[in-house]
Symmetry: C2
Subunit: 585 residues, 2 copies
């Protein structure tokens, strides 16, 4: 059977064992066909080919409901549920998302992109089924890495009490994005080594029935296991031992690199477009490694994404015990950082803008109320970041800048970033977050940057009159370019780098009243609750200053085109200049 | 020895077993002396008297560092560390906080009031110690209830890998605030029943060494256990079996009621000031119970605080399986609600404003992106709520109202609350949060309230000119009173109930431009990122309308006096009226 003929899981129900193996081969081929040209999650999908086939062979989706954690392992599921074209037809590669998506298929139940949610989301479906009086199977699929997130543990704990069908498939590929970190992984190892027989069993301790499948890439072994648990009347964990990157040699060997990859040459595994340009990840890693050598109290922390702050395997080795991977546990990372700072260490937690959302309460309670001087690097923030709806970098300014006691700095270039980072890591007065610029590294050598930000004020980069343009962080160059365009019309704009977004330089804003009638704010983030609205609040009772705010409206966008979005939001220097001229008329 | 003579833990080091028992008796007496007059956490502190004495007998605080989870069991710790006056001298009751507080004592390491943080905070102290090359003991104390929070699990998982001293004391009193819920509690029960010998052991599965103390209210048994683990070179869990409410009969019997209590008569256990007035908790509980009878798909969810939504033991019994307690697991509660809504149920999650902070990411990702029509009741929001720095109700508007796709309604009175709640529970279009008014229930019978909020607009309650006052939620009556005062000066203000804070009624705001020059916003929440700043943003480029925003500045306040704070913020009708008159001059 050709996978092109698969339109729904029903199409594979009658196949023989060898036909299923052939299907698996074709799926793996399709994965490599698309991923080598398009990029995406390589390892997680290759490892789950057999399990996904077995799940759909045994269960009757979408009546039976399969919920994938993070859903970066759901590509085969997509092929099995009518979306094979999205993998084998290059023209259709972008018609399907990299995650499960209910708008694409009735077989997808949630739009998911953050980890550790599948058990709790699926438990909601199970509870709803019980209230309805139905009896379909509810299956949560979760990777061993995702188990380290607090939400997964909470879900494991509460769902154990269900008195009805609930199946958790633990896809144990012995890896997170990087290697796993946490005490539970020793128990998973013990379970693998004892073929699931060890009496001390994490899942049983949480209250689950349990079976182990040693050959997690053997379709028949998986079918047998899933048939055993189908229609079970209580919660059970099916622990399957899979190989991440299975079937593609480079991905089997370097499992961290191949978790997610850009387009590559299938033969060699070499990337097609190697970007040798400097990035903020490496700049951060280099800085921290240097500081660690100087000061044994400097600590770099990650929550399962070490390379966001440049900690590839080599830098992790160099850092030794001055590097900590908490597992995919942002809450733990933030609060451990607070404890480290309290204990006299100098912690830096590097995290994606989208993932710091997991730790709002810890930032507020454990860090800010306590005033402990931990440092947070917020990466991939802004419009020029990841463009999947589950990974938007727009929300960190409203999230962090409205917490008292945290200084949220927004550097505009490499030199300013390093100046702020260096000050933050050496002070011991306050919690500091730094919004690492998105996009390409910009180097500025014609401005100097302060070495002390404890009483930070805004920087007036060029002084003009009538209109002042405040460009936040990575949008500062846009403020400069807008001013250049205005100059052609004889308007000398004041250009301001606010340096921080957690508050206002009120003295400067007050002084602008003297000879300005328009203030423009540009921020690479949400307008609602953002920096611009703080400026609006400042001038709200002033009748001589108008304010124009540029930023992102309060919407979730999925796979947007950056340039189109910026044009639509009039976030282009020539459009902003037009608006300003219209206002000044 | 009289406990008045205890100034530091050193004072009890030399005492005999019988002297320690006498000290425990005096502490218990002091607890009841203060709590019966002042109110506070009764059960947790009574249960930990012996363990706290034993901890300070064995360890050398503050060099050895004890971190209490939630810290509502830290009163005896406070008495042992120089703060006994705060319990035995009524004039000094309010000089100490109800939680650990570094500003009070070098023996307190963190300001804590949310659960499940002690392991991760203490692990930070342990890691800092290791970097410094020191060797003091680090002890995290955590209750069995608090173990159900994701942050506790994350901490358990990561701290298990420490290669150094780390002691977790699990204070197992077999209760959360209400009864425990979760699969792990069956394992704790098994461990208690087997005197800690069961081979399937949650803590060992997380990678810990483990000992069990059956007599957790026996000082000598505890001393023996703590001496055994003192200076240990690896992580260990000391599981102690204690009795919540120990030594006070009413609290031993009704452990839920006596978790936290208002002032009471010691003999009878009767409350001294019984407040028979209606409250929003019971109103909510009554509504939900009624709806459950009508619709089997209605579900009430709590994360360990069932009475916030009126679900006392009797309503829990009535609700049967239509009531779910997730444990202290707000992330799980929010995402399970999303799954329930997706599965066709009508979930209501009732939660304190301060605790919903734990689930920002789940609200954004699992609920809002997915658009699942779960309903969230946000209680104790606003200035008139809990006034401890760790329990402030000021942050929920910036938190929730800046997430796309969630409608955040702010009712002004009981009738409007019920109208909004009823609509929210019966619609299936969107996620809805309701900011349940703080303070006393206000009943309004001279206005009618819509039954449909799917295209909600603001309500113009009285139409005037020049000045419009927008009173959000529980501050709406303040807008009305301000208008009454202004009337005396011949100013007819427009009074507006915005009804929702997640967006603006732009048509109305636009129309105000015709005959108003001043718009005033009153909100019982943070100014930064709040509703008023959205209004500021709307009028930012308008030069005929000024805006005055009233609300709370971005600060953490501890144990503030509500009336003083409101005066200071000019949040009193007469002061607002003064400001308005000054602006209109």
């Amino acid at each position: 059977m050709d996978i092109k003929e698969i339109h729904s899981p029903a199409d594979i129900k009658g196949l023989s064992a060898s036909e299923l193996i052939d299907i698996a081969k074709q799926f793996r081929e399709a994965l490599l066909f698309k991923l080598s040209q398009h990029g995406g999650h390589v390892g997680p999908n290759l490892g789950m080919v057999e399990a996904t086939i077995a799940l759909h062979y045994v269960f009757d989706s979408p009546v039976d409901k399969i919920v994938y954690d993070v859903s970066h392992q759901s590509y085969v599921h997509k092929m099995l549920t009518g979306r094979v074209d999205g993998f084998i037809d290059p023209a259709k590669f972008d018609t399907i998302s990299g995650y499960t998506e209910p708008n694409e298929s009735a077989h997808d139940f949630f739009t998911i992109g953050h980890t550790s949610t599948s058990i709790t989301l699926a438990s909601g479906l199970a509870r709803a089924r019980d209230l309805r009086g139905d009896n379909e199977n509810i299956i949560a699929v979760i990777g061993d890495g995702s188990l380290s997130g607090g939400q997964a543990f909470e879900g494991l704990d509460s769902a154990a009490l269900l008195k009805s069908n609930f199946i958790i498939v633990v896809n144990d590929n012995q890896m997170s994005i990087a290697e796993n970190h946490g005490g539970i992984y020793e128990n998973l190892q013990l379970l693998r080594e004892t073929d699931g027989q060890a009496p001390c069993n994490l899942f049983k301790a949480f209250g689950y029935d349990y079976i182990y499948v040693k050959e997690g890439n053997d379709i028949q072994a998986l079918i047998e296991a899933f048939q055993k648990v189908k229609d079970i009347d209580h919660p059970i964990v099916v622990h399957i031992n899979t190989q991440k990157g299975k079937g593609y040699a480079p991905a089997e060997i370097d499992r961290e690199k191949w978790h997610w990859e850009m387009p590559f040459d299938r033969q060699s595994g070499e990337l097609l477009n190697i970007d040798e340009s400097e990035d903020y990840n490496s700049i951060t890693g280099d800085y921290l490694i240097k500081e660690m050598g100087r000061d044994p109290m400097v600590v770099a922390i990650t929550a399962g994404t070490p390379t966001v702050m440049g900690f590839d395997a080599e830098r992790r080795r160099q850092a030794g015990r001055q590097f900590i991977d908490m597992g995919i546990a942002e809450q733990d990372a933030v609060s451990t950082a607070s404890g480290l700072a309290k204990g006299g260490a100098r912690p830096f937690f590097g995290v994606y803008s989208s993932f710091i959302q997991r730790a709002y309460d810890q930032l507020s309670q454990d860090v800010a109320i306590n005033g402990n001087a931990a440092v947070f690097g917020i990466f991939a923030a802004g419009v020029v970041g990841m463009n999947d709806v589950t990974h938007l970098g727009w929300f960190d300014i409203p999230l962090i800048s409205n917490i008292p006691n945290i200084l949220y700095l927004a550097p505009t270039c490499k030199e300013e970033y390093l100046a702020m980072l260096d000050w933050a890591m050496k002070q011991n007065m306050m919690p500091v977050a730094i919004r690492v610029p998105g996009g390409r590294v910009i180097s500025v050598t014609d401005r100097t940057f302060p070495t002390d930000y404890s009483n930070v004020t805004a920087e007036v980069v060029s002084e003009g009159s009538k209109v002042a343009i405040i460009g936040v962080g990575d949008f500062f160059p846009m403020a400069q370019k807008t001013a250049e365009i205005l100059k052609e019309s004889g308007i000398e704009a004041t250009v301001i780098n606010p340096r921080y977004v957690s508050g206002l330089d009120k003295e400067l804003l007050e002084n602008l009243k003297a000879n300005h009638s328009l203030v423009v704010t540009l921020e690479s983030g949400l307008l609602d609750g953002g920096y611009g609205q703080k400026v609006d609040g400042f001038y709200a009772d002033c009748d001589t200053i108008k304010v124009l705010n540029y930023g992102v409206p309060k919407k979730f966008l999925d796979r947007y085109n950056i340039s189109d979005l910026l044009t639509q939001l009039r976030l282009k220097p020539e459009l902003i200049a037009q608006d300003i001229k219209a206002q000044l008329k």
